[in-house]
């Protein structure tokens, strides 16, 4: 375990139990998942039982207990995108990457997920790779987008 890395995160907070979610968010952002050993330390420091940490970690969609890929692909399946066929975009990505929605490719390059709405509904269907948005992503644009990250 990389304790100094975790210490940097913990030092940003006062160490109260209400800091649990922000601390987990920072760990998720830094490690791309919530490693088990780190969670033990968090439990001690914030005085929060491990059971509660697990219940929080499994309740919220942003947390993952297994490592995520280098690039995170999120396909919007919000109402507007759904009506414009975003499930086909998800299916095409899944087919091209060889990975089911919700999982990570074997080479750890891509994680594929669907989300409720990305807030760019005027350009439906919308997808995001890491922090970049792509609008009007029809199936034929999928290979071009993937190429940018391969």
């Amino acid at each position: 375990m990389d304790l100094p890395r975790l210490e940097t995160i913990l030092s940003r907070y006062e160490g109260e139990s209400a800091d649990l979610i922000p601390v987990l968010q920072d760990i998720q952002d830094a490690y791309s998942y919530l490693p088990k050993e780190e969670l033990h330390v968090v439990s001690e420091r914030l005085q929060v039982p491990l059971t509660q940490i697990y219940s929080v970690a499994t309740f919220f969609k942003m947390f993952s207990l297994i490592p995520k890929g280098k690039h995170q692909i999120k396909v919007c399946t919000g109402t507007t995108c759904h009506l414009k066929g975003s499930h086909r975009v998800a299916e095409s990505l899944s087919h091209r990457l060889g990975v089911e929605v919700g999982y990570t490719t074997k080479d750890m390059q891509f994680s594929l997920d669907t989300v409720g709405c990305l807030g760019s509904c005027a350009q439906a269907p919308v997808m995001m790779v890491d922090d970049k948005y792509f609008g009007r992503t029809t199936v034929d644009k999928v290979p071009k987008i993937l190429k940018l990250y391969k």
Binding site: L24, Q52, T79, T80, L118, G119
Partner: protein, 617 residues
Amino acid sequence: MPRFESIDHLREYRRQLMAKRDANQPQVLVCAGPGCLPMGSEEVAAAFREELEKNGLAAKVVLKECGCHGLCAGAVRVLIRPQEITYQHVTSEDVPEIVEKTLKEGQVVDRLVYEDLHTQEKAAYKKDIPFFKGQMPIVLRKLDIIDPTSLDDYLALGGYRGLRKALMEMKPDDIIDAIDHSGLRGRGGGGFPTGRKWRICQEVEDEPKFIICNGDEGDPGAFMDRAVMEGDPHAVLEGMIIGAFAIGASKGYIYVRHEYPLAVSRLQLAIEQARESGFLGKNILRSGFDFDIKISRGAGAFVCGEETALIHSMEGNIGEPSPRPPYPAQSGLFGKPTVINNVETWANVPEIINLGADWFANIGTEKSKGTKVFSLVGAVNQTGLVEVPMGTTLRQIVYDLGGGLRQDREFKAVQTGGPSGGCIPAQFLDLPVDYDSLQSVGSIMGSGGMIVMDTSSCMVDVARYFINFLYQESCGKCTPCREGLKQILFILDEIIHGRGQEEHLGLMEELCNAMSAASICGLGKSAVNPIRSTIKYFREEYLAHIRDKKCHALVCRPLLKYTVDPETCTGCLACVRECPVGAISGKKKMAQEIDQELCVKCGLCYEACQFEAVKIE
């Protein structure tokens, strides 16, 4: 940025700021709002920077990246001031021509201006475009002119004037009276009178008190809160500071959705600027009042938009709602009195204080005052953000502002209120929109998403979509919601697979009654709206699925059949490459054929074919 030591100091600074600014200075305002960003705002802005530099105009022309300009369908939009010429579908390649023609020679680049779809009439100036003419921007007023990272820009447009007035000329009671009298109701969905909520909180004798801004914006199809947080963050802060002063709160939080990273950074910057200038922190503007704001990031759970669930998650727990009363205003964050309002609600507050309760109360309908921002999306031509007085009719919004339906298709329904809203059919197009009228037709205002559907949408699919969404998002705490949604989803799946029975409709309605009566929170209570409204207004469509096993809109997968038309197929094999199960076969340059046994009806071939040779029936 100086730290403002007094009101006079602020006034003097603003005066100097205005004197320094030349109203006739040319400005290029590139939209970097939620609709334009994915279409390349950053590239367009970069191209302008380079081109202005190249032409020696960098010092003369102000270049800004702003929030949503409203008509997102024309992304990327660029506004040229002071003339207010608005260009649409701008790419970096168009930039040299805009610089040359418009900025240097003062001419309009014709090919980039708005064109009316029906009359083909062109309009270069914002004031001549019907989309903008029918609106009354209050919350969105500054979005297309200010740089959201500049406090000076906000101050130049009268920013923090409301706060100045609240702190210097009003007592907390006067502020609450004004909000009460203005008739402002919560913009987050419920429509609870804001002044009344503040009064309840103010009257509780307990310390400390908290203020929360709900920026969770979970309704899919809604992006007005994102646009405001990203485009005019100081307005949200100013509203919160005024509210905190009124109820006597010392700490505030903004809860922002996990999917909105830009909103988080914009708000964070605005908070730092406000602290530096003395609008936040100790002894605000030397009035003796202390207040500070922190950002809390959501972690991806729809139910956390519900106020009690949101508060639980801010305390470090899972986001399960709890029964009300007690209301957060009585006992909220850490058990202390807490006022929680939506982003748009907060953004209205400074203007109400600044321009007066009467001004606001004169806008809108009898029971719903002011304006409402809607995100108008779906099957309309002009998708974007609109802000109209309460009481504007659906027809005005969909046809006058939205420019009617794409490809002149037939209007089928407009869905309002997010997953807990309803589908409103054509017969109610002349309904004046406010909180109460929407409820009377089986929908709700929600946070303002307005999704227009044409005949290519299947209402059974839409109902299933929302029920599935809510089923996934139900926290599972109470049985009627958890189990009810599961059973309704099961029934809808039966119908979609052609195994539906007519009794199913009655059964779903029965389940709805139980859910709306016995669920703890609004998620379960109002999850019935999509079912009730579609059964009531689109019964025929359910029956077509049940009796004829047909989905006339060609949406419900199990009821479809994909074939290749041998006449039109060129044998390009685009579909073959796309098919995930290898169901398509045939020789190159010859007509292809689909093996119906293998086909999983995903529709990828249909979308991949450039020659429209794949047919659905």
